[in-house]
């Protein structure tokens, strides 16, 4: 159940975005990756979830290699990600977004659908129950039938989270879920992330908001220029001299 990244390297043409990155994500933990813009955090997510092929290195989950698999196959194995840029199905309602997100919870194939097998009705109705449950969980019940693209930014990010949850992740990778949110919204998201973890989902989080990161993480990994420069508990990271120099910056004294 451990997600293990070893010696991961990614380069774009001449630009090295990741260079020998190794870390493991302990099952059931909330692990955060922090680092300045351009450090390679999103690139690491893309490599782990199959959106780009690493130049070198291995990614293992649950003892099996994820490297070389397509994103959909990786999602099927329970490793699901969200995107840094808001990403929803714009012209579908919130409920239809989530229903679409439940793709992996249903099994009907082409012929089943064509001959309309009897169990399809049961499957669909259980999907609809799940939709309501997930929408309720992220607190979008009042937006159920509204088109996703018409929602305010913060709520679109919640739709995104709902979509990812619909894929029934065992490891959930969240790329800056709090970006652009108000303080209150961030608190809500932090709470949701905690609750998700309590249901047994491992969380790998990329986030710039230090209060959020330090508040909910078990482990923090610091990335700079494509390398891991520190790894430890929030307390250790905040005291780490390299980190303070490279990222937190003395005057800001983030915590």
């Amino acid at each position: 159940m451990t997600l293990a990244v070893s010696d991961l390297a990614v380069s774009f043409g001449g630009v090295t975005a990741l260079d020998g990155v190794s870390f493991t994500v302990r099952p059931g933990s909330i692990t955060s990756i922090i680092g300045p813009n351009g450090a390679g955090k999103t690139t690491a997510f893309n490599a782990i979830t199959g959106y780009l092929q690493p130049t070198a290195g291995r990614i293992n989950y649950d003892g099996a290699a994820l490297t070389g698999l397509r994103p959909s196959a990786i999602a099927r194995r329970g490793v699901v990600r969200t995107f840094q840029r808001t990403s929803v199905f714009p012209s579908l309602s919130v409920a239809d977004n989530v229903l679409t997100g439940l793709h992996l919870s249903s099994t009907a194939g082409f012929l089943d659908v064509l001959v309309r097998r009897r169990w399809l009705v049961l499957e669909e109705s259980s999907l609809h129950t799940d939709v309501e449950e997930i929408i309720g969980f992220v607190g979008l019940g009042h937006r159920r039938d509204e088109m996703a693209s018409t929602l305010p930014y913060g709520e679109q990010r919640l739709v995104e989270l709902a979509l990812a949850l619909a894929a029934r992740p065992r490891v959930l990778l969240l790329d800056e879920p709090g970006a652009g949110m108000t303080g209150a919204e961030k608190t809500v998201v932090s709470g949701l992330i905690r609750q998700v973890r309590e249901q047994g989902v491992t969380i790998l989080l990329v986030e710039h908001d230090m209060r959020m990161v330090m508040g909910i993480s078990d482990t923090v990994i610091v990335l700079n220029h494509g390398r891991v420069i520190a790894e430890g508990t929030p307390g250790e990271i905040q005291a780490h001299p390299d980190v303070i120099r490279a990222y937190l910056g003395a005057p800001r004294g983030a915590a």
Binding site: T42, N46, Y51, L52, F83, R85, D175
Partner: protein, 290 residues
């Protein structure tokens, strides 16, 4: 061997005009992101304008071709300003549908004006071929090749030596940055579309007298222009020039050695092969995920 030389020479003449078509389209496609299915209709337009100028107005051959160029530029400009400008922020499919509409409308407009019977465009050059060793070539074809090369060279100068060309290249690189640096995107787009259409029109005026002018002549011209663009790379002038010449030669060889019925298949096969084998290779502008 002698046959081969003859095919190469014929292919070069054809290829010169394909290059003109391709340069026009590669600028429009690369710079404006418009899949211009009406491109071939400007080619047809050029042929008919040349026909009208030469037979009805009885002007000199070169003036006829100039008239075609002016007509192509004017109509292209009009098209951009009225139809494409309002849709600049729409998806590529939206503008493609509009250009399909323009294509159908223009083609049938031509059919209404000129009728379905093919017209032969008169030219003042002797019909007896010039014989150079094993190769025979009609004087008209030599003139066509020379003019095509001249037009390609002028396009080069325009893109690389003028202020407009600089603005066009900047827009191609990065539209937003170009706009920030004071380039008027609207004007660049209008100029690009007018220029591309003028080149297509010129190609039609040049090839029209070699073959015949008929309303549906633009259909294949569009597709050939697309294969040239795909062969040469999006927005790539050198690529379009070389691609055009290659397509012309490949068609002549295909027609000569395989079967003349499959001449037009060469362009299609190029499109399929290049896109399938190197889907991102020739025009890589990889999208970022995240």
């Amino acid at each position: 061997m002698d046959q081969l030389l003859q095919h190469l020479v014929n292919g070069l003449v054809l290829g010169g005009t394909y290059a003109l078509l391709g340069i026009g389209l590669t600028l429009i496609f690369g710079l404006m992101n418009v899949v211009n299915f009406a491109h071939g209709e400007f080619y047809t337009l050029g042929a008919y304008v040349a026909f009208a100028a030469l037979t009805l107005a009885g002007v000199n051959f070169i003036v006829g071709i100039l008239a075609a160029i002016v007509a192509g530029a004017a109509l292209g400009w009009l098209c951009e300003v009225t139809l494409l400008r309002p849709l600049r922020n729409e998806s590529i499919d939206t503008t493609m549908l509009v250009m399909i509409g323009v294509w159908i409308a223009m083609q049938n407009g031509e059919l209404l004006v000129w009728g379905g019977v093919a017209k032969s465009i008169p030219h003042p050059f002797p019909t007896a071929p010039l014989v150079m060793g094993p190769v025979a070539i009609a004087p008209l074809r030599v003139i066509v090749l020379v003019l095509a090369v001249g037009l390609i060279a002028s396009s080069w100068l325009l893109i690389h030596q003028t202020k407009l060309g600089r603005a066009m290249r900047a827009t191609f690189q990065d539209r937003d940055t170009a706009a920030l640096m004071g380039v008027s995107i609207g004007r660049v787009h209008a100029a690009t579309f007018a220029f591309g259409s003028a080149l297509a029109s010129a190609a039609g005026a040049l090839l029209g007298p070699v073959f015949l002018a008929y309303p549906s002549m633009g259909d294949l011209a569009s597709l050939k222009a697309f294969s040239v663009v795909i062969l040469g790379g999006l927005g790539n002038l050198t690529g379009a020039t070389v691609g055009g010449l290659l397509l012309g030669i490949a068609e002549e060889l295909g027609a000569g050695y395989i079967s003349s019925g499959y001449r037009d298949a060469v362009g299609f096969v190029i499109i399929i092969m290049v896109l399938v084998l190197r889907p991102s290779g020739l025009f890589a502008r990889q999208e970022r995920i995240g």
